[in-house]
Symmetry: C2
Subunit: 708 residues, 2 copies
């Protein structure tokens, strides 16, 4: 497959297969728009029915086109696409956009047709875009190769490039962002069902493209989802923010995605984990793209998450504070020196706290703004500043903008402005801010939301830098792999915990007994009290089968219990293969956690952490990361769950051993990577987390193997 997409975006010649003389139809529009936007290369409509279309010579077949074009557009009926694609292969066309619908999004026959296209593309090394897409616009070079209403307009070229699995929505994002949002685009491509060049291929290309600063993506699902990590990290290293939609987050939304482009995603939780790990900024609406995109143009990133707010409208200041705090920023007290400075000129009915409210007194003394802004920018405890100018307009507005620009020029801290005056009411002020690349927003809430996104991204970049040196733990256990090769059933508790122990995860002290006397001998070695648990691959839920007894205190009690649990197990599942009865120490008091490994078809091995019982099962209060997980990422996973205060010492409990817990997560992630060809699912439930310094202990575990 071809991934150097330079020629795709900049083709010297384009064939349009199935071009129509009716320029209003889907198959008529590409030629119309290529011409009307002044495409500078050569155009070859292909259709045996016409000698020419719109004054351009038309060819009866691709074979008769006098050169191999860099790009072919296929606009014929689904049934005829394979034939046309073969002709492209024969002709040596490197890139083909297949617009036609009627493939995997239809299911059944469509899926077979789509597989055929993929095979042809592979055979001829064609970079296929689509099928079921709306084409591409390269604004910078005037290549409008597609159809749709937004192709009617002309666009100013910008430095934002986008790839979208949805045509209609993707182009509307470009149209609204460029025109109404003041965020012009450079290149825009829609990928539909993605049998060839994928979203991540395009993002990878945009990272390399020197003219692209900001990258936008819309995805329903990625077939190569694990690459999100690698691509995200590349983008972080290149300093190019990636803004991305992941849609289909509800069951109904997923159903809709299936019948749209059939790009089935893994669980949303894994996408969120990958976004977090890859520093990819999740967006939810078009306005996010516009607002965040404009923010990144300022070229400054905050060194931390401490925001100072200056406002002439107290109300707007409160709104912004609420928004920023809810999104992880801090709005700290200012330094005493700063407050002292402010005190000398801010009216006494204003506020020197953060937000600093200079009040409407600004109308009577304009210099308030400049002096306040400078004092706050100089505060070493402030990483970025937001200034709220309410609806100031006209002459006073222009003056204030000038003051802001003067202060901003001398500082490398981002300064954002919330300014509600309409465009027409403060044109000079806005022009001055735009020229100085100072982001400004009509709504204080949007301004705060955007600052928080910038701050999140800055933190992701800092983490990326800090983690360059941090190597994930790698453990190789070939003996375990060999051992698992021949196993076909679930690996039950005892064996599963031996495997955990091999990767350095502490487990309960225990031995397998095959008779009551042996069990008693083991219990004496371990020391009472003990637990008894029947081990059978046919009984994954031991407690439900009443095949578990806890807190057995004596030989006599053990003997009776042994007989009972074995009897219960046999009654529960007649014919179950019983491997023995596990004699286990009672783990003692600790917070119950759950660790898990899943091997997702799209994402590969991932690790899950949650607190026990209801937290994970009822509240779905869990965190995910793709494996391998570093120590700092493991700590993040722990702090991310809502139940975290329980580990940190809520309700009078001692603080839990967070270091040992993070270490267990890291080791489990090493296991997940090492055994990725074997382990489909692994649950450690519960993992007891003891007070600080006393470690963790896996008290039960179960491994489901990949089907062989």
């Amino acid at each position: 497959m071809r991934f150097d997409l330079e020629r795709f975006f900049n083709p010297r010649a384009i064939a349009i297969i199935g071009a129509s003389q009716d320029l209003a139809t889907i198959s008529g529009q590409p030629l119309k728009f290529l011409k009307s936007h002044g495409y500078r290369g050569r155009l070859y409509p292909v259709n045996p029915r016409y000698p020419e279309i719109a004054g351009v010579q038309c060819y009866p077949s691709l074979a008769e086109v006098p050169e191999a074009p860099d790009l072919a557009l296929i606009l014929v009926n689904a049934a005829r696409v394979a034939d046309m694609l073969r002709q492209c292969g024969a002709k040596g066309v490197p890139y083909v956009i297949i617009f036609s619908s009627g493939f995997s999004e239809m299911g059944g026959r469509g899926e077979a047709l789509q597989r055929e296209l993929a095979a042809i593309a592979r055979e001829h090394d064609i970079g296929v875009i689509g099928p079921n897409c709306q084409g591409m616009i390269n604004v910078a070079d005037s290549v409008f190769a597609g159809f749709g209403s937004v192709f009617n307009a002309d666009y100013d070229p910008g430095r934002v490039s986008m790839v979208s699995q949805s045509g209609g929505f993707g182009f509307s994002v470009m149209n609204l962002s460029s025109k109404d949002g003041g965020l012009p685009f450079r290149q825009m491509v829609t990928t539909g069902n993605e049998i060839g060049v994928s979203t991540l291929d395009f993002i990878d290309y945009y990272i390399r493209d020197p003219q692209t600063d900001t990258i936008v993506g819309y995805i329903e699902g990625l077939k190569d989802a694990r690459r999100l990590l690698e691509v995200g990290k590349k983008a972080l290293a290149a300093g190019k923010p990636v803004l991305m939609w992941k849609v289909g987050n509800t069951e109904q939304g997923q159903r809709a995605a299936r019948s749209h482009t059939a790009n089935l995603g893994g669980a949303m939780a894994l996408y969120k984990a990958a976004f977090r790990q890859g520093g990819i900024i999740q967006v939810e609406d078009i306005q996010d793209v516009v607002d965040y995109g404009r923010a990144f143009r300022c070229g400054k990133l905050p060194a931390g998450n401490r925001l100072a707010i200056i406002t002439i409208s107290g109300g707007a200041g409160i709104l912004m504070t609420d928004e920023c705090i809810a999104r992880g920023m801090r709005v700290p007290q200012l330094a005493q020196a700063t407050t002292d400075k402010l005190q000398s000129f801010v009216p006494e009915f204003g506020s020197l706290l953060n937000p600093v409210d200079v009040t409407a007194a600004i109308f009577n003394d304009l210099s308030l703004i400049n002096r306040t802004l400078q004092a706050i920018v100089d505060d070493p405890g402030v990483d970025c500043v937001a200034m709220i100018n309410a609806s100031l307009q006209g002459e006073i507005a222009a003056k204030i903008a000038g003051e802001i620009v003067a202060v901003a020029k001398k500082s490398d801290k981002p300064i954002f402005i919330a300014w509600s005056a309409r465009d027409a009411a403060a044109p000079e002020a806005y022009a001055a801010l735009d020229a100085a690349r100072i982001p400004h927003y009509k709504s204080p809430v949007r301004c705060g939301r955007t600052l928080a996104a910038l701050s999140w991204y800055a933190a992701a970049r800092r983490k990326h830098e800090a983690r360059r040196g941090e190597q994930p733990l790698r453990i190789e256990k070939n003996n375990i792999k060999q051992q698992l090769v021949s196993v076909t059933q679930d690996v039950t508790e005892y064996a599963a915990k031996r495997i955990l122990a091999e990767y350095g995860i502490p487990v309960t002290c225990e031995e397998l007994a095959t008779g009551a006397q042996e069990a008693i001998a083991i219990a004496r070695r371990i020391g009472y009290p003990v637990a008894l648990k029947v081990q059978s691959p046919d009984i994954p839920h031991k407690t439900e089968a009443r095949a578990v007894r806890l807190a057995i205190a004596s030989d006599a009690e053990l003997a009776t219990a042994y007989a009972e649990v074995v009897k219960n197990a046999k009654a529960h599942q007649p014919g179950a293969k019983i491997e023995g009865v596990l004699v286990q120490e009672m783990a003692g008091e600790g917070v119950e956690a759950i660790l898990g490994v899943t091997h997702d078809a799209l994402f590969g091995p991932a690790v899950m952490f949650g607190l026990g019982g209801i937290f994970a099962e009822v509240l779905k209060d869990v965190s995910f990361r793709l494996a391998p997980v570093t120590m700092s990422a493991a700590r993040e996973m722990i702090e991310e769950v809502a139940g975290y205060p329980l580990l940190a010492g809520a309700r009078g409990k001692p603080r839990a051993d967070m270091g040992a817990l993070a270490d267990a997560i890291v080791r489990l992630s090493a296991l997940a990577v090492d055994l990725k060809d074997h382990v489909a699912e692994l649950d450690v439930n519960p993992l007891f987390v003891f007070p600080e310094g006393r470690g963790v202990k896996a008290a039960d575990a179960l491994i489901k193997l990949v089907t062989k």
Copy 2:
């Protein structure tokens, strides 16, 4: 105080006390703007320094003004405001706006000054607006009585009226909504510190105002918060949606609110409860006001929450689906008859599921839209319809708009349109939709969010109708009130549960013993096993004092335990007054819930529900309602918490007795109302909720009384 605000908004004459000849300053602007917008009444600037201002005769004092104006504006320094307000009283001015700052928002001296103003207003029966506000605009009657940049513009009159505690932010909402948002306002008033006419007084007025259809409010806190319920219900009955911001939701935001207008709110949880109970729609940003306000103009409410989506862009359909599902709507399967109809004309690569994706094939066959829309509107399982037209523009757009209008006219189901074409690209289409009052939005996410708000409001109205007949339970227990009059300490478990029992809340079977022998006798009556709990108003946390023993199985065990718990209690709190030792049945297995009563200074009595332990304490997973609570509201409270699945039968547990739980909540709310002068706080923790049909039982309780 005066609340018929007709003359406030429509004054026949206005005095401007402290008017300045410098028309750019705060005290100069009101006269300037009243004149420039063509105020039709009489104007009396008052300032001893000037004979005239801007051609209007100026008076040295209010006393010399030739009539008592309907409205006076006070623009003098804080220190002189009281004197001016007295002069207004002497003159018989019914309404006064105090613009000046420097009162309670400053704390200290400012608070005393503000109390003085309030006293003067009461004495002279003046309806005071402010202090610390920015005035009022009555667009409909051209009364621009205030200052600020937005006063420069002219506005078209609309049917939306707003009241805002913040001047700067409030006016920016009006300005942006009217001008850029296409949602013109009727009246707009800012209330600042609210010593007189309050936000709710204005909302109450707007409900009565026949020219206002939609009401908007911005609050930092309400001094008369409990009235939210009554005002909300009035608005529901009048069919006038109330959109409201409540800001200061974070600790930092609250701190900022304190130094802004010092309108301190109670807990956000109680505001949210009141909004829910009063059908008040919470908004978070200016765009919400614009989008929701435009939605309500359609004059149709959905009969349920079932949404059908028709789209030509699959991606936009998925986004809208995600948004609507997340906000409580349903996107159900269509009826078979509808699907059959659609099958006959939707392309086979489209989708007949909901969202119905007619695909870009629309370009080739325009009639697809009309036929699809009609078929879906006719589906009896659909309450409202959203149609997504991507970026369709020009001639085709106008035709489609015409088709939509034709279908919408004949249906009373709301039809919303997500249409991303820019205004300039589809002017005729948008004009046609506007004329037919069909709401349309550029973003499918915003369209979905708005539909969900409309649907939420429609449900609130249905509930309001349904609950007209539902009388809240009222219980009067004068004996309890008399009993509590003389009590000054906390009411401990035994006594507290006797009170609960009086209101019909089931409690554990128990008796108070004052000696071990008596305890044994009680235990025999109740039946073993029992619990022992030392009762002392000086030991609110019995468990921490080791003054509790559970599951005592015999006389001998009880005798020992009795001595121990008494000893522990005395050791824990030497000199503690010990009322006795409670002998209590062991409640048995049930889900642990928590019920609570708080008596909020602003909201009055409120009831809280949560699940036990970590749910309430760590996760803050609780629901609130202002008392009294009806049975249906109690059921809502139960279903609202995240841990609800635990009661509904998660993790293999039986379904809990929801009816008995709701009944206990209703009875507790009756207690909260009846004892509102006595009970400051009441906790039932835990309340055991047993499986269906087996009821609930309060196992512990504590009452804190109001300080006497």
